[in-house]
Symmetry: C2
Subunit: 384 residues, 2 copies
């Protein structure tokens, strides 16, 4: 395998986009290529994530993006793995580059659902679950993750303030992130006073529907003698699956795919959780951040939500989590989320993270979940 | 790169499926694994094509298929490239296996649209084109391919019988294919008497809407010391893109992506058109078969439709084309089509093609187009 780097990255501001998904993808794709200091014509393959393009009447969006970039002849493909679509796209790009099939690959994730009403948007999200067994019977993601939260709360006797501390921390980080959907801090009182959505999850436990686009450029080290930015060395790119249906899983105190992908990533990187300086994890709901940290072995089982309340996951804590603001507050434009996590790590390593910088970070991890964990991607990056 | 084989293949009968796309995908996936003589647990990665799963309210279908196969922990991803989705999935599987990332990969394409009315199905198909410029203004695929047919007819002074001979030949082949949607031959009179759909394309110039599923198993040669079937050696797996919008292309006498993917495949295989014994090409409309054969350099420009009328592309002709019956008569379940072409080559090389067998075939090519040519995949296979 060739040593593989992320050499460029870009994101727009998450929230409500005026432009279409393809327009946003083209814009951030070009920005990522420019940040890498290369020309579009050097891209050998484009990997697009755009799970709900059909909501804009557009499939087969890769050739349109490549045409916008001036490279229509370059092959492209759209990758879908629910909310982990763009980390799955990154994995494909990694395989192509590390395996020697191309020297430079563009990964771009984009999603636009804000033109739909909330019911329609929720229905789109829900097709990431097992439709005939879950969505068709009324289960949507707030309810499914609330089930996970209930099991966690019942087993570990957590308090509402523990989940709340995850929301408060991620909003505080997002307030410092110009890409974030919500650039405003919240207090614990605001959290505790927010309406119940699916008990025990309140409004501020839930990530928003966001539009957005994010892109990264993947390259073979040997093709980049003089990187213009501090590259992220891909130490691990691992994915795993799981029984998608929660009702068929023997254990709801974590996501089996996240445990498997995490373990595979640590094996690949020849590292352990103790080697990671900070992580971007998939906090579509606050409970998901706690489960992620336990699935990855960063905190013992049952300890992550409590550790959050103790400040361990703050930017200046023992193990900073989601300095970007996470899905919770940076926003969750489904197919842009995985790439966006890598944009954050790129900005952190390049001194571009401003007030939300994590000091002395050498190794970072990105954890991106599809739906309720039918799929999970884990990437580990280090400085050179 | 490791030598890479297709060691198993399966298809259901195209047409109207009672089962869902995921059920059909699971069934043919299992059948392909069984035909390969391996166990599901040996699969290292599943690549699914299911472009219009949203029409069944189902995205993120890989974990559901893998769970059905008894391998929920195996990573999966859904690959979309319009009508070339499953050949694009095959390309990803090839890259993973040839690059040494896994030893066995499952490629499965499935599509179900028969529960929709024709307008809705046409609308789904149309999102493979450039929506704001083409579909939104009323252009659907029959009209777009009719434009290509008009340019061809005008330039080369072809007769209706030339396009008709492609339809008659493919129906004759499909009549011998138990997987085919239309298992019935037609006469030139039937063709000429069929209603005009988009001049000059008549009903029998157009492929049908089909449900269907097809799967292949890709493996590293070194992992299969004793293949139970005659494997297809992957000599080339190439993809290319193009300006998707026909109105922006300088030349409509062919598809630029097909020319580029074909040239790349021949370079990779170190072969030329003269080395190919037969081909499965993307004949969504009869004109598309003629263009494919010219884009690939198998016939000179302007000669393919005429050659068809002369019998050159029949099973016993100089260069047999679409012995399966092609999209035209075997059917076109969008995301199953690319894999289905490989199923045909697998059956041909394994003496399973019955009355439609192409004698003495050692090397075969599969050509699969996304939409009107925004993407194209070309694969070349040989016997060991």
């Amino acid at each position: 395998m060739r040593e593989t780097w992320v050499i460029g990255a870009a994101s727009n501001r998450f929230g409500k986009m005026k432009e279409s998904g393809r327009e946003a993808a083209t814009e951030v794709g070009l920005a990522a290529i420019e940040s890498a200091g290369i020309e579009p014509r050097q891209i050998g393959h484009t990997f697009v994530a755009n799970a709900f393009g059909v909501a804009e009447h557009q499939a087969h969006v890769g050739p349109l993006i490549n045409t916008g970039l001036g490279i229509p002849e370059v092959p492209s493909v759209t990758i879908e793995s629910a909310c982990s679509s763009s980390s799955a796209a990154l994995h494909e790009a990694y395989v192509h580059v590390a395996g020697g099939f191309c020297d430079f690959a563009l990964v771009v994730g984009a999603e636009k659902l804000s033109h739909l009403d909330t019911l329609a948007a929720t229905s789109y999200f829900a097709i990431g679950a097992d439709y005939p067994f879950e969505a068709k019977n009324g289960a949507t993601f707030p309810g499914l993750y609330a089930t996970l939260a209930n099991v966690y709360q019942h087993t570990y006797r957590t308090t509402p303030e523990m989940f709340g501390s995850i929301a408060v921390k991620n909003h505080a980080n997002a307030a410092l992130n110009p890409h974030a959907h919500f650039q405003k801090a919240i207090t614990m009182e605001t959290y505790l006073g927010s309406p119940m959505i699916a008990s025990p999850l309140r409004l501020y436990d839930c990530c928003p529907f966001s539009d957005g686009a994010a892109a990264v450029v993947v390259a073979a080290k040997e093709a980049v003698p003089h990187p213009v930015r501090e590259p992220l060395v891909v130490r691990a790119s691992a994915r795993a699956g799981s029984i998608a249906d929660m009702h068929d899983r023997p254990d709801l105190l974590g996501l089996p795919a996240a445990r498997a992908a995490g373990a595979a990533a640590f094996r690949q990187a020849k590292m352990g959780p103790e080697d990671i300086d900070f992580a971007e994890v998939h906090d579509c709901f606050t409970i998901a951040e706690a489960l992620a940290l336990e699935d990855l072995g960063i905190f013992p089982k049952g300890a992550a939500a409590r550790a959050s309340l103790d400040g361990a996951t703050a930017r200046d804590g023992k193990f900073p989590v989601n300095p970007s603001g996470g899905l919770k507050a940076k926003g969750h434009p489904v197919s842009a989320t995985g790439a966006s996590q890598v944009v954050e790590i790129f900005e952190q390593f390049n001194g571009l993270a401003g007030g939300r910088s994590v000091p002395h970070a050498e190794v970072a991890l990105a954890h991106n979940v599809g739906a309720t964990g039918g799929s999970c991607s884990v990437h580990i990056f280090s400085r050179r």
